[in-house]
C-alpha cells in the first residue's frame, strides 16, 4: 500500500472503512435472511466474518479513544502520586501466548514509571516472561530512556523458578531469592536495593499476567501479608475474578487490552511528552470494537431466531 499523497491517504482509508462496514452489514443481513428462512449456516462463515472484522481495521487503522474507568485511573493516579525515587516492582508473569494482550500495558507502565523518575525492579515468575521483559528493554527502556542506568534507575532480576515459593521468600528477603540480578551483579552492588530489603519496602508492586502464578498469588503471598500496595494488569479472561480485590487488596487493575488502551489514552491526554508514544493497545481496540459489534449482531440474530423457533414449536 504505497501512499502517494496525504489527500489520497485519507480517502483510501475512508474508502476502506466504508467498504468494510458495507460488506459486513450486507453479510449480516444475508446471514439473518438465510437463517430466518430456515437454512443452516456453516460455522465457517462466522469465522470469515470475525476474520474480516478483525483484519480490516488493522489494514485501515481504525482507532478510537477511551476514557479511563475508575479502576484504571486509580493505578494511573497512584503512579502519578509517587514521589521521584520511589521504587516500583513490575513482575512479568506471562508468556508469549498472552503477550498481545498484556505487553502493551507492561510497556506503558514502564514508560510511565521511568518518565516519573521512579526506580523499577523487573522480575518474572514465568520462564518465558524473560523474553517479554527483553522486549520492553529493547523498545522502551533502552530506546526511550538511554540515560537511565542499569542498577541505578532499574534492575532486571530475571526469572526465578518456584512461583509462590519465590513470593513467600521475597516478602521478607530479596537477597535470599535473588543473590544476583540477571547479569550476575551481586545484590549488594545494586543501588536500587540500597533501601530495599524486601517487598515490604516497595512503594508499589505491579504484576502483569493472567496465569498462575500471577496476581492472585501476589496478593495472597505479598500484598496482604506484607501490606504492600499492589496493582495489576491482566489478560481479559481472568479480570472478572480479580475485581473483588479492588480497592482494598489491589488499588488498580487493567483488564485486557481495553484496560491498556484506557491507560495509554490517559497518559497521552495528561502529558505532552507522551503525545507521540506508540499505543499498541489503542490500535488493537479498533479491530476489537468492530469484532464486538459483529459478535453482538450474531447474538441478537441468534436470539431472534431462538425465540421465533420456540414460538413456532409452542404454536
Amino acid at each position: 500500500m504505497t501512499v502517494l499523497n496525504p489527500l489520497f491517504a485519507i480517502s483510501a482509508q475512508t474508502i476502506g472503512i466504508t467498504l468494510t462496514l458495507i460488506i459486513i452489514g450486507l453479510g449480516l443481513a444475508w446471514l439473518f435472511w438465510r437463517s430466518f428462512s430456515g437454512k443452516e449456516v456453516d460455522r465457517r462463515i462466522i469465522f470469515i466474518f470475525i476474520f474480516f472484522s478483525v483484519a480490516a481495521p488493522i489494514l485501515f487503522k481504525i482507532s478510537f479513544t477511551f476514557k479511563a474507568i475508575p479502576i484504571v485511573s486509580a493505578l494511573y493516579d497512584k503512579v502519578e502520586s509517587l514521589p521521584a525515587g520511589s521504587t516500583v516492582l513490575i513482575s512479568y508473569d506471562f508468556d508469549p501466548a498472552m503477550a498481545p494482550e498484556v505487553q502493551p500495558m507492561a510497556d506503558a507502565l514502564s514508560r510511565h514509571c521511568l518518565s516519573r523518575d521512579l526506580k523499577i525492579i523487573y522480575m518474572c515468575l514465568f520462564p518465558t516472561g524473560q523474553g517479554q521483559l527483553e522486549e520492553t528493554f529493547r523498545t522502551v527502556v533502552r530506546e526511550e530512556f538511554p540515560n537511565k542506568k542499569d542498577g541505578i534507575d532499574f534492575v532486571n532480576l530475571g526469572y526465578k523458578a518456584g512461583g509462590e515459593g519465590v513470593l513467600n521468600v521475597i516478602v521478607t528477603d530479596f537477597e535470599k531469592m535473588f543473590p544476583t540480578d540477571v547479569n550476575s551483579v551481586p545484590y549488594g552492588d545494586i543501588q536500587v536495593f540500597d533501601n530495599i530489603k524486601s517487598c515490604q519496602n516497595l512503594d508499589l508492586i505491579i504484576s502483569i499476567g493472567g496465569g498462575r502464578p500471577g496476581i492472585k498469588e501476589w496478593v495472597l503471598f505479598v500484598g496482604d501479608p506484607g501490606n504492600v500496595p499492589m496493582a495489576a494488569g491482566v489478560a481479559a479472561v481472568v479480570a472478572p475474578q480479580l475485581y473483588p480485590y479492588f480497592p482494598n487488596q489491589i488499588l488498580g487493575l487493567l483488564g485486557g487490552v481495553k484496560g491498556a488502551a484506557e491507560y495509554e489514552n490517559k497518559m497521552r491526554d495528561e502529558h505532552e511528552q507522551f503525545k507521540d508514544m506508540p499505543t499498541p493497545a489503542t490500535t488493537m481496540m479498533g479491530p476489537q470494537t468492530l469484532a464486538h459489534i459483529v459478535v453482538m449482531a450474531f447474538i441478537i440474530i441468534g436470539n431472534i431466531l431462538y425465540f421465533r423457533n420456540k414460538r413456532r414449536e409452542e404454536g
Binding site: T180, S184, V185, P186, G188, D189, N195, K197, Q200, N201, D224, P225, G226, N227, V237, V238, Q241
Partner: protein
C-alpha cells in the same frame, strides 16, 4: 599454610581497621566541632525534641521504632528544617566487623568475577588488590575463616555496646524529609550483612535536624533500648480465630457425619435432571456419556464426580441403558471401573457390567477432546454428563454435544469454565454445587461434614456482613470493622 595465611589476613585487617576506625572517629568527632564552628556564621535550627524509641512489636526482632517531636524550626521561615538524619551509635567492635564484612564482599566479587564495578582508590579497591593475589582455593579458605570470625565476634557485640559512649562512633542510618515524626529502623537479621542489628544489645540513637545550609542540631541521645523478636504476632489474631473456627467446625461435622447423624442437604436441580435424562436415554435407546474431566483422582472435583458416576451407573444398570465413560487419567480409570462395577452390583445386575464401559483414551488434552467428540458424533448419546475438573476443552466438548442434540448436564469447580458450560448445557452445577451434589448422593462423611462446616461459615459471613453494614453507618461501628483488619 592455612594458619599462616589467616594470620596475615587478620594482621592486615587489624591494621586497616585501625586506620579506618581513626577516620570514623574523626568523622564522628568533627561533626560536633563542625556544628560549634558553624554557630558563628549560620543560625542553627532548633533540635527535634522528645526522642523516644521502642522495639518494633510483632516482628522477628532486629528492628526499632523511633519517634520525635518536630523541630520548632520545621516549616518555619528562613531557618526551615529540610530533613532529619537518623544516627545510631555503634561500638568499635561493630566497625571492625564491618570491615571484615566489606572484605568478605570483595572476596565474593572476586570469586564471582564481578569486580568491574569497584571504583579505583576506594577501600574496596585496595582490598581487591590484596586479595587478587590469592588463588581461588585460598580465597575460599580465607572467606570461610572470615565468616567464622564474624560469627564469633558478633557474640561480643551486646557486651561491647555497654561501653557507650566510649569506644565507638555514630553511624548514619537514614534521612527523612521535614515533617516526618517517626522512623522504623529495620535492621538486618543476617550477621554477615552490614546492616546487622543485634537483638538484646543496648542501642543508642539520635536524630539531627538539618537545614538547607547543612547546619545541624542533634536531639538528645535516645538509649539504651533493645530489640527482640516476638513469638506471637498480635496483629494476626483474626486469622488465628478464623483458622480455629473453620478447623473445629469441619472436625465436628465430619465426626457427626461419621457417627451417622442426619445432616440435611437440600436436593439440587441438576441431580434430579440426571434421573430424567437417564429415563430419556432409555426411551430413545441411546447411550449415556459420562466424562470425568481432566483432573487426577486426588482432585476434590473428581472425587465428587465418582459419587455422581456411582449414582448414574446404578440407574443405568436398573434401566439397562448403555453407559460410556472415556477417561483421561489411568488412575481415574481404575477408580471409575470399581465405582461402576459396584453400582451394577448394587442394582443387582452384575451380569450386565461390561469391562470396557470405562476405558482409557489418552493423556493429551486435545487428543482426548477429539476422541470424546468422535464418540459423541458416532454414538449420538442421548445424555452427556460432564462432572469434574475441566479446562480449555469445556466449550469444545459442550458445543459438540449440543450440536449432536444430546441433553447435557455439567458440573465443575473451575470458575473460568462455568460460563462455557452454562451457555452450552441444559443443567450446570456451579462450583460448590458439585460437592453438594456428591455429598447429597453419596453421604460420604468427609464431604458431607466439610459441606456442613462450609455452610456454617457462610452463615457466619452473612451474619457478619449484615451486622457490619448496619454498624458501618455509625461512628462506633468502626471498632467492629477494625476487627477484620489484619495489619502486618
Amino acid at each position: 599454610m592455612k594458619v599462616k595465611l589467616l594470620i596475615m589476613v587478620v594482621m592486615m585487617l587489624a591494621l586497616s581497621s585501625f586506620c579506618f576506625a581513626q577516620d570514623n572517629a574523626t568523622e564522628a568527632g568533627t561533626e560536633d566541632t563542625d556544628t560549634t564552628a558553624v554557630v558563628e556564621s549560620i543560625i542553627l535550627p532548633a533540635p527535634p525534641g522528645n526522642l523516644t524509641g521502642i522495639d518494633k512489636p510483632n516482628d522477628h526482632g532486629h528492628a526499632a521504632i523511633l519517634s520525635w517531636d518536630l523541630s520548632p524550626d520545621d516549616g518555619a521561615g528562613e531557618n526551615s528544617v529540610l530533613k532529619y538524619e537518623i544516627y545510631k551509635w555503634v561500638p568499635q567492635l561493630m566497625l571492625d566487623i564491618n570491615l571484615v564484612r566489606d572484605s568478605l564482599s570483595v572476596i565474593q566479587r572476586i570469586l564471582r568475577n564481578t569486580t568491574s564495578g569497584i571504583t579505583e582508590g576506594t577501600q574496596a579497591d585496595s582490598m581487591k588488590i590484596v586479595f587478587e593475589k590469592y588463588s581461588r582455593d585460598e580465597l575460599f579458605d580465607i572467606r570461610n575463616t572470615l565468616i567464622a570470625h564474624v560469627k564469633q565476634e558478633n557474640t561480643g557485640l551486646a557486651e561491647a555496646s555497654n561501653s557507650y559512649p566510649e569506644n565507638g562512633a555514630w553511624l548514619f542510618v537514614d534521612k527523612k524529609p521535614s515533617g516526618t515524626k517517626s522512623f522504623v529502623h529495620i535492621g538486618s537479621k543476617d550477621f554477615k550483612s552490614a546492616g546487622f542489628v543485634p537483638d538484646f544489645a543496648n542501642l543508642y540513637y539520635r536524630v539531627d535536624a538539618v537545614t538547607i545550609d547543612g547546619a545541624k542540631s542533634s536531639s538528645k541521645v535516645l538509649g539504651p533500648i533493645q530489640t527482640s523478636g516476638q513469638w506471637y504476632n498480635t496483629y494476626r489474631t483474626p486469622v488465628v480465630f478464623s483458622v480455629l473456627f473453620f478447623t473445629l467446625l469441619t472436625i465436628y461435622f465430619v465426626r457427626e457425619a461419621r457417627k451417622g447423624a442426619d445432616l440435611y442437604v437440600r436436593p439440587l436441580g441438576g441431580i434430579e435432571a440426571v434421573d430424567d435424562a437417564i429415563g430419556r436415554a432409555t426411551e430413545m435407546g441411546r447411550p449415556i456419556l459420562y466424562v470425568l474431566g481432566l483432573g487426577s483422582a486426588a482432585d476434590i472435583a473428581t472425587i465428587a464426580s465418582f459419587t455422581i458416576l456411582g449414582r448414574v451407573a446404578k440407574k443405568v444398570a436398573e434401566y439397562q441403558t448403555e453407559l460410556l465413560v472415556p477417561t483421561y487419567d489411568p488412575i481415574v480409570m481404575t477408580v471409575a471401573q470399581e465405582v461402576v462395577k459396584s453400582a451394577y452390583l448394587d442394582a443387582g445386575r452384575p451380569d450386565a457390567y461390561k469391562e470396557d464401559t470405562v476405558h482409557f483414551v489418552t493423556q493429551s488434552q486435545f487428543a482426548y477432546v477429539a476422541a470424546v467428540n468422535g464418540i459423541m458424533l458416532r454414538e449420538l448419546p442421548a445424555t452427556n454428563v460432564y462432572m469434574g475438573k475441566f479446562f480449555a476443552e469445556s466449550l469444545i466438548l459442550a458445543e459438540t454435544g449440543a450440536l449432536a442434540g444430546s441433553i447435557q448436564i455439567s458440573g465443575t469447580d473451575e470458575i473460568a469454565q462455568i460460563p462455557f458450560f452454562i451457555v452450552a448445557c441444559d443443567y450446570t452445577l456451579i462450583g460448590e454445587e458439585l460437592y453438594a451434589a456428591s455429598a447429597y448422593l453419596g453421604k460420604e462423611p468427609v464431604l458431607l461434614g466439610s459441606l456442613k462446616a462450609q455452610d456454617y461459615a457462610k452463615a457466619a459471613i452473612i451474619l457478619l456482613a449484615v451486622i457490619g453494614v448496619v454498624l458501618a453507618q455509625f461512628e462506633f461501628g468502626a471498632a467492629f470493622v477494625n476487627l477484620f483488619e489484619v495489619a502486618n
